[in-house]
């Protein structure tokens, strides 16, 4: 019999990761972090230097949006290119594993369509620039009264659909899908932040902090952010219902502060800027209120778990090392326990790197 080896050397996938100065917080990693952070600071607050770069994209912007390229168009384009280039790398790297192939292709498609082309075309049509793949509380304003009433009460069918979509996805689909599949349906298959993390962020996943103290900080932080976004949304609604109330004047301020601290500084500057230093899921783990909601459902009301295969674990630590969410997977696996953690985004990499076939993502 003639055995033709078409499988790539999967076991070599992480060869040299710990010696790479890019991947293991060497000088290049710090420089890259500086570059990414700098880019975000420019995009958010000092866009002038980016203008010439953006104007290069004018023809494309005219084509897609029917207007000149601004910094947000530049940002969206760079982001989408990053997802595609690094997505191709991801596909090559994990090409023997269908789970990774399917979810990476899905993430790339969703990013291109829902976060790039469709919003641009909507803008071109003069409609609302709407992102079908983002929901409250990741995009808090989608459930703000101004937005909801404008969409739902509109006599434009498209806008009505957007309103219907936002409400249904947030209130019905999110809990139902999370009940059946865990938070991964969103974080590792749909979300744009996830798309960047799972592609551009893959080389850095091992830099997540696995210590117990990091887990404590994570729980405290991510739930505080969730509490803030709930409060801000509540305030805005309150101010809307009772404009005469004494808190009404502060509602918009609260929203602005939230938008600055969480929306810009945390999710952008730190969330992406720190990829090379703390792994790609800094935002998803410590800051994302959507992840917090999905996590609570996943932990307390979901069929999803990572099953441990009996006593086969050899405590090697590959799973924990490559968990981008900093979950100490081994701590559960070596005791023969299933893993049911709020933060797990179901990326499946722990199961892939396990050399003993101990872990399996399942919807029981």
């Amino acid at each position: 019999m003639n055995y033709i080896e078409l499988t790539v050397p999967d076991s070599m996938r992480n060869h040299g990761t710990m010696w790479s100065r890019w991947k293991s917080r060497g000088v290049p990693a710090y420089l890259l972090a500086l570059l990414l952070t700098g880019f975000y600071v420019l995009v958010y607050w000092f866009p002038e230097p980016l203008a010439p770069l953006a104007s290069l994209l004018d023809p494309l912007a005219q084509l897609l949006r029917g207007s000149a390229a601004d910094r947000w168009f530049l940002y969206g384009t760079v982001y989408t290119i990053a997802v595609f280039v690094m997505g191709a790398r991801m596909l090559l790297r994990y090409r023997t594993q269908r789970y990774h192939v399917y979810r990476t292709l899905t993430l790339m498609t969703v990013q291109l369509m829902m976060s790039y082309l469709i919003p641009a075309l909507l803008a071109r049509m003069g409609s609302k620039e709407f992102y079908f793949s983002y929901f409250w509380p990741l995009k808090p304003e989608y459930l703000f009264p101004s937005n909801i009433s404008a969409l739902v009460q509109s006599d434009n069918g498209l806008l009505m659909f957007m309103g219907f979509w936002t409400i249904t996805m947030t209130v019905v689909a999110t809990p139902v899908l999370t009940y059946f599949y865990g938070k991964r349906w969103y974080c590792s298959w749909v979300c744009g932040c996830g798309a960047l993390a799972e592609t551009a962020g893959d080389p850095f996943r091992q830099n997540s902090d696995k210590t117990l103290s990091a887990w404590k900080i994570e729980r405290w932080m991510v739930h505080s952010v969730l509490a803030s976004v709930v409060s801000v949304t509540g305030l805005i609604w309150w101010a809307n219902v009772d404009p005469a109330s004494p808190i009404a004047p502060y509602a918009q301020d609260a929203n602005k502060v939230y938008g600055f601290l969480i929306g810009s500084v945390f999710s952008g500057v730190i969330g992406v800027g720190f990829y090379p230093l703390m792994g790609a899921r800094v935002w998803c783990r410590f800051g994302c209120p959507m992840a917090a909601v999905l996590g609570l459902i996943q932990k307390y009301a979901s069929r999803f778990r990572i099953t441990t295969n009996g006593s086969q674990c050899i405590s090697c630590g590959n799973c924990s090392t490559y968990c981008e969410m900093g979950i100490d997977v081994r701590a559960y696996a070596q005791r023969g326990e299933d893993i049911k953690r709020a933060s797990c985004v179901g990326c499946g990499v722990c199961a892939t790197v396990c050399p003993r076939g101990v872990l399996k993502l399942e919807n029981h």
């Binding site: 019999m1 055995y3 033709i4 080896e5 078409l6 499988t7 050397p9 999967d10 076991s11 070599m12 992480n14 060869h15 040299g16 990761t17 710990m18 010696w19 790479s20 023997t96 594993q97 269908r98 789970y99 399917y102 210590t211 117990l212 099953t307 295969n309 009996g310 006593s311 086969q312 050899i314 405590s315 090697c316 630590g317 590959n318 924990s320 090392t321 081994r330 701590a331 070596q334 499946g348 199961a351 892939t352 790197v353 050399p355 003993r356 076939g357 399996k360 993502l361 399942e362």
Partner: protein, 418 residues
């Protein structure tokens, strides 16, 4: 009561953890190899840069103090009966003094030997030359880093599970690797012909120069007795080597036990409650030898550790090993086994299924139609399902029909069709 455990491998550490869970006794773990417990099977991932050494430690360093498990990083050099207190003659039976290399001593009411195993070498000419090493202990990790510097050719002696890991490591480090294997097919002592053939070809396809039915004759150094230069095989062939890894198996570490007057054979002799020939002295893990022999696996060492704690604290009965299981990886190919797959299995005593791209195979061994073992290469199998079948004496028909319920492959993987 003070319990002293010698060795912080998985056996000793599991014993310590369960002793803590079940009791409030004082627990001291003395070990010479590394200050903290690490995963020995993870060594190869450190050598390939997949993980740092710190990543191989299953518990954070604060864990031990928090759980009141005292760690001592030293070698135990002697154990003697305690004369400090006790009956008229000053001798207290079943109490000991543990002496350490650096001079400290500790009194112990109970001692657990968990000294593990060490490389078994066979006195080859040249085995102590620079560049020749084993791949078992932490010091071997460090030796490998030195030995691969500037090296081009490597020879791995031994076609066992550690041998294939050593070959993978050296190959990943860019060396040309020749492997000397005594059997006529890789792991043929354990694997039926088909599986052995698959693995043999797979290893060769990775670029390993696999020499079957070949043994090591001697190792030869370079000019003026320097570093290893080449090896000579049993057939007289000369193979260039800057590094030689001798992976010809391990043997229980029993020197200390012997000196301390414990009965030993290959390992430290114990009954099925891990009791040695001296009162209150137990032995577990790789270093222990039952009436039926030694059990030298990560899994068994862990099970021994848990059970000895139950014996000491709860007076538990005999240790009963559950249905056999094991797993390993041969470069790309994962292997999991439950129960017994005789190496001479054929179509009359087993069902065999295989696929080539990617390589996957599955064998269900039976005795007169009753399933005795299941193993898979490139197919992950559920331990609970497989062992339940084997323990219940399921028939080959039942297992074949329901095989998909035992498959543990990732979602979207192609189904197995036995």
């Amino acid at each position: 009561m003070r319990i002293v455990i010698i060795g912080n491998g998985v056996a000793g550490i599991t014993a310590a953890r369960y002793l803590r869970k079940l009791s409030d006794h004082e627990i001291i773990v003395v070990s010479e190899e590394a200050p903290y417990h690490f995963s020995r099977p993870a060594m190869m991932y450190v050598s390939m840069g997949h993980m740092t050494y710190d990543n191989t430690k299953p518990y954070e360093d604060w864990f031990w103090k928090k759980n009141r498990i005292e760690l001592v990083h030293d070698a135990v050099s002697a154990i003697a009966p305690s004369f400090s207190s006790g009956d008229e003659e000053g001798f207290s039976p079943g109490k000991y003094v543990v002496a350490m290399l650096r001079g400290e001593t500790i009194d112990a009411d109970t001692i657990i030997f968990a000294t593990g195993s060490e490389p078994a070498w066979f006195g080859w000419t040249g085995e102590h030359l620079p560049g020749v090493q084993a791949y078992v202990h932490k010091s071997d990790l460090e030796a490998l880093e030195r030995n691969v510097q500037g090296a081009r050719n490597a020879v791995v002696v031994g076609g066992g599970l550690i041998g294939v890991e050593a070959a993978e490591v050296l190959h990943a480090r860019g060396l040309h690797v020749t492997m000397l294997v005594r059997e006529s097919g890789f792991y043929r002592r354990v694997f039926p012909a088909e599986e052995s053939d698959i693995i043999t070809k797979h290893i060769a396809a990775q670029g390993i120069d696999l020499r079957l039915s070949t043994e090591l004759d001697r190792i030869v150094g370079g000019e003026n007795g320097g570093r290893v230069d080449h090896v000579i095989t049993s057939s007289g062939e000369r193979i260039q080597a800057d590094v030689v890894i001798l992976a010809t198996g391990v043997k229980p570490t029993i020197d200390l036990a012997k000196q301390s007057g414990l009965n030993t054979d290959r390992g430290i002799l114990i009954n099925d409650r891990f009791e040695t020939s001296l009162p209150n002295v137990f032995a577990i893990g790789d270093c222990a030898q039952f009436e039926h022999g030694v059990e030298q696996l990560w899994y068994t060492a862990r099970a021994h550790g848990e059970h000895v704690a139950r014996v000491i604290i709860e007076g538990a009965g005999p240790y009963v090993r559950g249905t056999y299981f094991n797993s390993a990886k041969f470069f790309e190919l994962e292997w999991q086994v439950y129960g017994e797959i005789p190496a001479d299995s054929d179509s009359t005593t087993s069902e065999y299924w295989s696929e080539l791209q990617p390589i996957r195979c599955l064998r269900i061994a039976h005795r007169n139609g009753v399933v005795i073992g299941i193993h898979g290469i490139g197919v992950r199998l559920r331990q609970d399902v497989c062992t339940t079948w084997i323990d219940a004496g399921a028939t080959i028909e039942v297992v074949r029909k329901n095989i998909q319920s035992a498959v543990f492959d990732p979602e979207f993987t192609r189904k197995v069709t036995v």
